[in-house]
């Protein structure tokens, strides 16, 4: 079974993606189609930048499966490259559509083979149609497909040979997609006059490496593409599941109207775990025990959503793992001027000799050694999940979805670096209810539970940043590490329902940052408001803010910022 599993699409996906990328300089997303049951055999299907490949092809010997996958992707890639525009079905009959598709397949394959002659060896073995297979339409089509591609194949059928002659005669014009339509249409007329029966519903494209042709055509009002379009819809639905449902309304948080908004429904009240002072910049004094921080249990979501995010950002993840490898590799450091070590430090020796001759006491630290520098580092990532994080970007993703993607990728990066880290999220509903939610604690591994917590994250309410900073700082302070890093990801300035003055909470947050700095905790902020004009510089210090103009790039940027901060 394991040998069988090694030949399935999901096991080969990485190399197949590389294969199509190398040949065509295109990097479509590859998806697996569930293995067929007793349904008709499945074919590759593509469209909208995604190629969907059956998990396994039925009736193909195991040793040919891998070649078949490669042939299938080479063929789909040839379409992506040479089928420049989708065809319009117009008034074409199903048989003509099948024929035009068949000619189009042969056309792109020939163009591909002009560029990559080796593809012929890949395609040909799967063309096994021969006259003995009969003269029903599917057999005729398969024979024609073979005749068009295999120069050594001879077929007694007049129609097949006529098709080949027409196709080869047009060799000069193969670069023009109109060729397929012309030849396909003519051949379809011929078959039509022979009054042969064609069952479009039962027709399966042969040979097996060719796609189902649905990606070639603009879907008609009642498309024969129904089956595959539902797959596409399913894929879309799956994708949107990774995003949270949009909040009921898009009011900004610092509006007094929010005061009447009912507290987050369905969320049980959190356990108060700490009170913190709050700095009032008008009286220049901290109000003691002013805010109450409540711990909320994270609601586990669907872990697949996070795995999906990591999958969606696979190129970013790969780039990151390369970065991480270099970060790890550059860790050994030569320590000079050491009291003990495995080699003499020449410079120190010379200084010692000079001192000796000058009659001074030489410095005994004359050794050098190479040491693997340990990253003695504890990081807490604090995510702002106030209502504004539900805002959608032009691309359709919400800020929260991007925050989660970024946190997931960063978590993966930190886990593979072996750094200690925690991820928390906060929002607030007045000073008595600053909500703090530990997604991953320092002691816990970044495992399925943490991913589920991350997936279940919802955005609501306001941003009382100062209190959250103080609590995150207190958590970090418990970690004994040479360097303690608090990384805040926020999309807007602090606000809350019981505060009217914009400056009040900003000044409080600024005070909190300064308190943490005095305790040796570095606070950095990743700001997500593309519009600019925020108080982040004032709160965190200008050099401690990374403004991200294109919020879409957050998943890529956040781990990079982290690596730069800790390199």
């Amino acid at each position: 079974m394991s040998a069988d599993a090694a030949l399935r699409f999901s096991a080969l996906q990485g190399r197949l993606g590389g294969f199509i990328g190398a040949l065509w300089a295109q990097h479509p997303k590859l998806q697996s189609l569930a293995p067929e049951g007793l349904d008709p055999p499945r074919r590759v299907n593509f469209g909208h930048g995604v190629i969907r490949v059956p998990e396994a092809f039925r009736g193909i010997p195991p040793d040919a499966q891998s070649r078949l996958f490669h042939a299938a992707l080479a063929h789909a890639g040839a379409h992506l490259r040479y089928t420049t525009a989708r065809l319009l079905p117009g008034g074409l009959k199903p048989l003509q559509i099948a024929l035009v598709s068949l000619i189009e397949d042969a056309r792109v394959e020939h163009l591909a083979m002009r560029e990559f002659p080796g593809l012929r060896r890949l395609f040909l073995p799967f063309h096994v149609a021969e006259p003995a297979h009969g003269a029903l339409v599917p057999a005729l089509l398969a024979r024609l497909a073979r005749a068009l591609i295999d120069p050594d194949y001879a077929d007694p059928d007049f129609w097949v040979m006529k098709g080949r002659a027409m196709f080869l005669a047009a060799a000069e014009d193969w670069h023009d997609p109109a060729v397929s339509r012309r030849i396909g249409g003519l051949l379809g007329n011929d078959l039509g006059q022979m009054r042969v029966q064609f069952d479009a519903k039962a027709y399966i494209v042969e040979p097996a490496y060719r796609d189902d042709n649905l990606g070639l055509w603009v879907p008609a009002a009642a498309p024969p593409a129904a089956d595959s379009e539902t797959i596409l819809e399913a894929a879309r639905a799956e994708k949107s599941e990774t995003e949270p449902p949009r909040g009921e309304d898009g009011e900004p948080d610092n509006q007094p109207a929010n005061a009447t908004r009912p507290a987050d429904p369905g969320d049980d009240t959190g356990m108060p775990i700490a009170t913190y002072p709050e700095w009032d910049f008008l009286i220049r004094q901290a109000r003691p025990n002013w805010t109450t921080l409540r711990a909320y249990k994270p609601k586990p979501g669907d872990k697949a959503a996070i795995d999906g995010i990591i999958g969606d950002h696979a190129p970013v993840a790969r780039k990151l793992s390369a970065l991480i490898r270099t970060a790890c590799a550059s860790r050994p450091r030569r320590l000079r001027h050491q009291a003990e070590g495995d080699a003499l430090d020449l410079d120190a020796c010379i200084n010692a000799a000079i001192s000796l001759r000058a009659g001074e006491m030489p410095d005994p630290r004359i050794y050098t050694r190479v040491e693997r520098r340990i990253r003695d580092l504890a990081t807490l990532v604090l995510l702002d999940v106030s209502q504004s994080a539900n805002d959608r970007l032009p691309g359709g993703l919400s800020i929260l979805a991007l925050e989660r993607a970024a946190a997931a990728l960063l978590g993966e990066a930190m886990e593979s670096l072996g750094d200690r880290f925690a991820i928390s999220a906060f929002c607030s509903n007045g000073r008595h209810d600053v909500r703090y939610c530990a997604i991953k604690e320092f002691a816990a591994p970044f495992d399925d539970d943490s991913k589920r917590n991350l997936a279940g994250l919802k955005a609501a309410l306001s941003t009382r940043l100062g209190a959250a900073l103080r609590h995150a700082g207190a958590e970090l302070a418990r970690e004994s590490a040479y360097r303690r890093l608090l990384l805040v990801v926020s999309d807007g300035e602090p606000s809350d329902i019981d505060i009217g003055d914009r400056r009040y909470l900003a000044e409080d947050a600024r005070q909190a940052v300064q308190e943490l700095a005095r305790r040796g905790i570095d606070v950095f902020c990743v700001g997500l408001n593309a519009g600019g004009g925020s108080d982040f510089g004032r709160i965190f210090g200008r050099h401690r803010v990374f403004q991200i103009d294109r919020i879409e790039s957050l998943p890529e940027k956040l781990p990079q910022i982290y690596l730069r901060l800790t390199a």
Binding site: G17, G21, I354
Partner: protein, 266 residues
């Protein structure tokens, strides 16, 4: 000292891609420090050798590494029987005797190390030797060239702004297919048809840059493959040995490249 060892006797082969030779000569005429940017194996070092030969100046190359200290560039005191004796480093030798000093892969060196070139790379053209207290004024022929590959690691390693802004830069890229085939054919001693095939194969690996590979196949790699072919190795094997195996440790990427190479072969 006339740095005889560092003079280049025979012309190193270099096929210009654009106006880089003229530009470099103009920059050399005013001794403007030059930065050569571009991916690995695209001909930066060969270009410097060629220019040193063309200008008739000695060339001192330093391969920078992350453990390099300023003393490795500038020099250090050594012990001898009478006491200590100062020994010039490669940079100081170039400054004193008028050579082109080529610091290869400068980002690899730590940032505090690269600062020593600052006074040399502006109009002062001096090198202060901290340990001896000497201020070495650069020889009129001295010219500073660095190479810099802003690759995927640039997040972790980058030049300081103050270093970057002292240099004029030439961008190097992999040559276009026809030119690259010509270069590969010349350097490897194979026919143009074979060289074109290798370049087409190299193109496949370059398509994967950023999608599994950190860097595409360099011209140097293609030349390596070509050299193996010139010794009678079959194309598949030459590509496997000189290209696919070195470029990635990822089994999937290697399998993908092997399949792509097979597709390119007749």
């Amino acid at each position: 000292m006339n740095l005889l060892d560092h003079r280049i006797a025979a012309e190193p082969y270099y096929r210009p891609l654009g106006g880089e030779i003229t530009l470099f000569e103009a920059a050399y005429a005013s001794r403007m420090p030059m930065m050569l940017k571009g991916p690995t194996g695209c001909g930066k070092s060969r270009f410097v050798e060629h220019m040193a030969w063309k200008l008739g100046k000695p060339l001192i190359t330093v391969a920078c590494h992350e453990d390099m200290t300023a003393s490795d560039l500038v020099g250090r005191y050594l012990l001898d029987s009478n006491g200590t004796v100062w020994h010039d480093g490669p940079l100081t030798r170039a400054v004193r005797h008028g050579a082109i000093c080529y610091l290869d892969e400068i980002v690899e060196a730590r940032q505090d190390t690269t600062v020593v070139i600052h006074p040399l790379a502006d109009d002062r053209r001096v090198l202060p030797l901290e340990k001896t207290g000497e201020l070495v004024t650069a020889h009129p022929d001295f010219h500073l060239v660095i190479s810099y590959n802003p690759g995927y690691q640039s997040v972790l390693k980058d030049l300081k702004e103050s270093t970057k802004q002292r240099f004029a830069a030439l961008q190097f890229v992999y040559p276009d297919a026809a030119l690259e085939a010509e270069i590969v054919a010349h350097e490897a001693g194979i026919g143009l048809t074979d060289a074109r095939l290798l370049v087409a194969i190299g193109e496949r690996a370059r398509n994967l840059k950023g999608h599994g590979l950190n860097e595409g196949a360099s011209t140097r790699m293609l030349i390596h493959a070509g050299q193996l072919m010139a010794r009678g190795v079959a194309v598949e094997d030459a590509c496997q040995v000189a290209l696919i195996l070195p470029i990635s440790d990822d089994a999937d990427m290697r399998a993908a490249l092997t399949a792509a190479v097979a597709a390119c072969l007749r």
